[in-house]
Symmetry: C2
């Protein structure tokens, strides 16, 4: 299936998802898809469009008392023999179907068809979410044009099985280092084995008892895991250094500084080097805009889950904008070769968001 030269926003969201999937847009190769998205949005008279790099922003300016953001990234992880898209038994298969062109299609459909929303809306379709943070389109936009992201609430359409996932956990990565003294392995007692010493680090990890704090009614679940280990000089040498790379996923009631203090204390007295750190995001469900959203999309007994992974929701939180994840697709399938999305989830996300934006009660 060849992608058409223009995006047809009058097509249904599933057809539109297929169009987007069939435009290959691996990170750093988003020019074509961004061009098509920009052209399609510029054709809509009720929206003002701004482009920065391969990030496209489209906004209503209806003077509503509140403004909301709907955001999705346009890039995908590398192609893995999973293009073009394939629709089978109500499930759409292919690279980006789950992460996250189904969500992007919903955004574009709503941009084209919700012309009289109860909130002003900012639609953001951005580049380079799947790679190093320095290229992230949302981050760049928050620095170049922070006013474009000003809002009372944001919905990030990352896959969440079409259920609201609130907040996100932070992530901290550290190298924990044990030291010893080299010696020839034929006279091992003359040295101090740094790999043997790492047993203490691993024993502590095995005994770690995960915090599961409840925040705004949601139970988070922390994790402290070795994600790498390396040591060794040569096959006949007692090694003088071993490095355990540890990833701490921390609930959003802890700051980055508190997370680092915990890990430092946990591994004391070992040397510790921070290699990566990103804050979590509180669910913020006590805020009126968030509460209204949850009531609208989930109904009065609407289900809300905590978000365990880190997402760009944290960037909105840093900007002071409460935000949630809400999009079609199973987050466990993201980055998998076999990623796919149920058509029904694309449709329900579109229906519920449309009702919310138009101030209607949703039909469960």
């Amino acid at each position: 299936m060849t992608a058409p030269p223009v995006l047809d926003l009058t097509a249904d969201a599933v057809t539109l998802t297929r169009h987007l999937v069939d435009i290959e847009s691996v990170s750093r190769n988003e020019q074509e898809i961004a061009d098509l998205v920009e052209a399609a949005l510029r054709a809509l008279p009720h929206l003002a469009v701004v482009r920065r790099g391969h990030t496209v922003v489209a906004r209503t300016s209806l003077g509503r008392p509140s403004r909301v953001v709907l955001a999705g990234h346009l890039d995908t992880v590398p192609v893995n023999d999973n293009l073009p898209s394939r629709l089978e038994d109500g499930v759409l298969h292919g690279l980006g179907t789950c992460d996250m062109k189904g969500g992007d299609a919903v955004i574009l459909r709503l941009a084209a068809t919700v012309t009289e929303p109860v909130h002003d809306i900012t639609f953001v379709l951005y580049e380079a979410e799947e790679i190093e943070s320095e290229f992230n389109g949302l981050r760049l936009l928050s620095e170049s044009d922070p006013d474009l992201l000003t809002a009372d609430f944001a919905v990030l359409m990352e896959p969440s099985n079409a259920v609201v996932e609130a907040g996100c956990q932070g992530t901290l990565r550290v190298d924990v280092r044990t030291r010893g003294e080299r010696a020839h392995s034929a006279r091992s007692w003359r040295g101090v084995n740094a790999i043997h010493a790492a047993a203490d680090v691993l024993n502590r990890l095995r005994q770690y008892d995960a915090r599961k704090p409840v925040i705004d009614g949601l139970e988070y679940h922390e994790g402290l895991s070795a994600v790498g280990i390396s040591g060794g000089v040569a096959g006949n040498v007692i090694p003088d250094e071993c490095v355990v790379t540890v990833n701490y996923r921390f609930a959003p009631d802890r700051s980055e500084a508190e997370a680092l203090a915990f890990v430092t204390d946990f591994f004391a007295p070992y040397d510790l080097t921070v290699t990566d750190s990103a804050p979590g995001a509180l669910p913020g469900l006590d805020r009126p805009a968030a509460k209204a959203f949850v009531d609208a999309v989930g109904g009065p007994d609407g289900k809300v889950n905590p978000k365990f992974g880190w997402t760009d929701v944290a960037r909105f939180t840093t900007l002071g904008v409460p935000a949630v994840n809400f999009g079609p697709g199973d987050p466990m399938l993201a980055h998998k070769q076999e990623e796919h999305v149920p058509v029904a989830q694309i449709e329900s996300c579109e229906r519920e968001l449309r009702a919310w934006l138009q101030g209607e009660e949703t039909q469960q």
Copy 2:
């Protein structure tokens, strides 16, 4: 100091050691030194010389009731800003002074000057001891011309502080593998962390209690050491595999098969892959030829130490030839940039071997 075009075997052993050291002969670059050694030995009418590759063998054929081997390798580890040789305060410094051109010089001096020995003598100066076993000149000779190595006793002149070191320990290297299940590190409880599982392997290593068997009156000292560890898929993935590389140095009362059985049992039920194995060598001090040698070079209360590291002594043992290490230089300095040898040790080795070969009592 430039090496002369011919080796002068009338010079003293220290001068000869300097000549040999100043001929750079890093493994696989032994042509020049082997040519000079061959030419010098061929000039001696009482010896029959054979060359194989860059290995030179010279033998007496006096019809003596017994035959002994004196052996040394001609190659060195790579140059490390430690050439040419330098003589200071009775200590000779430079690449190969310790490992083992001091020993080679003693061999050449004895070859030139001991014309009426009480044992027939086979002098072996061989290539490529410092690199992969496939290139080892002694190994190649044992395959191409095993009769050239037939003897009642062998002295390998590896550095041993001019004290007899008997036998050698074997070495076995295995990869011990723990397995788990991958998961995203934000949901670590959905996976099984193979690096955490390696704690059990390291804990066993920490609790290892070294065997120290006494064989022929010598106390050996085994070692079981992690010499490498690796694991990890990505910074956000619970790893499904971790590999601990373990080196077992085993006393010569254990065969390679027994060593492997011990390690397999020690780490059961983990997967185990053998990556290297070499047998030890029993000291064989109960054999008459070995006993006579120890009595001669060490006197009636002569000191003999066990050899902890692996040396080519094990090859002689495999050929059925009892063998010991006995050479000038501290084995702890081998392969070190600052390697050196006391002149007095070169001299005492030559003196004691000469007395033994000539059937004299040594003067302690």
